[in-house]
């Protein structure tokens, strides 16, 4: 799959922003007044900034309002509704803390759970794709949720929770990669089923339908850079999980905490790039490519 910058930025920053909103809503930290204003501004910049970035890959972003209508079947529609609901509820909760120095506990809990709902509905957009066997697995939503609450815990400075969640995240990500490596083959879709010619013999793509490229090949067949995936996996684990945990376990210092956050973000950006670049769509089979 083509790793589009807009979608990688959306997944990374919105995940962190909604993770932070989750912890704020649950009351893991209860800032008031100016402090609350700063915390909520950071969370909204991340969450909303990512959502805005995601609209850059649309052909007609001006019609985005229509995407709220098909929640009965479409995970993308559910994600949109969930995001607006979470942001409105958390704005009410935040306003209570900033202006009235009052914690509306129930509002916060509803908003916090809805924030996780956004991350879950996002992950299901990918996990539902039967055409991308690597994504169609329980590890996809599990990893999205774990990264979001882990990153949120890191941003909100909860040392022990962040340490535990990021360690779990590293283990789950390694499992997701290794189990994902064999999933395309295990899906049973291959050139023989794609063409229905397997009963004659082994099928090989002889001539493509066109001399140039096309939308399908640009969007679904991404081979460049995949050869570096082993190195990028190590970089991801190092930056997203190991380095932040080490920095957290050192005696607390604001510079180290900032470094931990920056390292985590760089790591998650790499992780998301791999999430797309390594995912193989079955349509590539028609072109004899993956």
């Amino acid at each position: 799959m083509h790793p589009a910058a807009s979608v990688i930025i959306f997944n990374t920053f919105s995940g962190l922003g909604f993770g932070l909103l989750f912890w704020l809503g649950l009351g893991a930290l209860v800032p008031t007044g100016m402090g609350a204003f700063i915390w909520f501004t950071i969370a909204y910049l991340f969450a909303v900034g990512g959502l805005i970035a995601s609209t850059f890959h649309l052909g007609h972003p001006e019609r985005a309002i229509k995407a709220f209508s098909q929640w009965k079947t479409s995970w993308l529609s559910r994600e949109g509704i969930c995001a607006v609901f979470a942001l409105v509820v958390m704005a009410i909760y935040g306003a209570g803390l900033v202006f009235a120095e009052t914690r509306l506990a129930l509002v916060g809990i509803i908003g916090g759970i809805a924030s996780l709902g956004v991350v879950f509905t996002t992950s299901m957009i990918y996990a539902q794709m039967k055409t991308v066997p690597r994504w169609r697995h329980w590890t996809t939503p599990a990893m999205y949720l774990l990264l979001s609450i882990g990153g949120g815990a890191l941003l909100s400075g909860q040392v022990w929770i962040a340490t535990v969640l990021l360690s779990l995240g590293a283990a789950l990500q390694i499992f997701a990669w290794l189990s994902g490596d064999t999933r395309f083959k295990a899906s049973g879709t291959n050139m023989e089923t794609a063409t229905g010619l397997g009963h004659i013999g082994k099928v090989r793509a002889f001539e493509p339908p066109h001399t140039g490229t096309n939308y399908l090949m640009r969007e679904f067949i991404h081979q460049v850079g995949r050869k570096h995936s082993e190195k990028l996996r190590i970089i991801t684990i190092g930056l997203a999980f190991v380095l932040p945990v080490i920095l957290l376990l050192l005696p607390f210092n604001h510079v180290l905490a900032a470094l931990a956050v920056i390292s985590h973000i760089a790591g998650v950006l790499t992780l998301r790039w791999l999430f797309f670049a390594q995912a193989e769509h079955v349509v590539g089979l028609y072109y004899g490519k993956r």
Partner: protein, 253 residues
């Protein structure tokens, strides 16, 4: 609505004969010709006369080489367009309701004025039947020439998809695959028509007919046995020369 309608009795679709297709791409050209100036936005091209041309097509012809366990490899031309699946995954993922399946005849269409160009339907399609037009920013796909097949302004023989009408080999057939007595259904039953990627669970309406087994030519030339190479291993000077040359580095074994 992007909820799929209950399966329609009428299932319009194509039957493509892989035995007959000669790979001329006439269906590709006629499809682009008709659909760029009729239903919905035109099918744009980018850099059409440049070094890196690209464009939107609703129908493309691949060619595959199939190597049986024994015997010669076969070359099979393979036209591919939307299969108008009964369980169309492209329809249910659409967030706006732009993508829909008609309850009356099962044709899968895109309402372009509702399409936000998110591309998710193309992700969900295992067949590569949908292409986002780079100029218009909306999703394009085969309409089964919905603006021809019911069009009473056209002569009756033209009321079929442009690809079917134009195919010089008669490799494309259009009809109601929901009616077991239709010509296309009988053809599918007779020739063992099959689905593409049945394991994806999309239940395609379009069917493909397999290439017929190749004829095996009987030996009929009475002189042929006399034209076989005689010496498999040479004797005398020729034999010595053969061995000497073979023993040189890079020599034939």
């Amino acid at each position: 609505m992007t909820q799929l309608p209950p399966p329609s009795a009428k299932k319009l679709g194509l039957v493509i004969d892989l035995d007959t297709c000669v790979g001329c791409h006439a269906c590709v050209v006629s499809c682009k010709g008709w659909n760029t100036e009729n239903y919905g936005a035109p099918l744009s091209d980018q850099n059409a006369y440049g070094a890196d041309p690209s464009g939107t097509f609703l129908n493309r012809v691949h060619s595959y080489e199939v190597q049986p366990a024994q015997g010669e490899a076969q070359l099979i031309h393979f036209p591919k367009s939307c299969l108008h699946c009964e369980d169309a995954p492209c329809v249910t993922v659409c967030p706006t309701g732009a993508s829909y399946k008609r309850s009356e005849d099962g044709i899968v269409l895109v309402n372009e004025s509702d399409c936000i160009g998110c591309g998710l339907c193309a992700w969900a399609c295992p067949y590569g039947a949908r292409e986002l037009d780079a100029k218009e920013g909306v999703m394009k796909k085969c309409t089964l020439c919905v603006d021809r097949i019911y069009n009473e302004n056209l002569p009756e023989e033209d009321r079929q998809p442009a690809c079917v009408r134009t195919c010089p080999a008669g490799a494309r057939h259009f009809g109601d695959l929901g009616d077991a007595e239709s010509d296309v259904s009988k053809l599918v039953a007779e020739r063992g028509g099959f689905d593409l990627m049945p394991e994806q669970g999309t239940k395609p309406v379009n069917k493909y007919l397999p290439p017929r087994p190749k004829d095996v030519m009987p030996e009929f030339d009475v002189l042929a046995p006399y034209l076989e190479p005689i010496a498999s291993d040479g004797k005398g000077f020729v034999g010595w020369l053969d061995k000497a040359l073979s023993s040189l580095p890079g020599g034939a074994k």
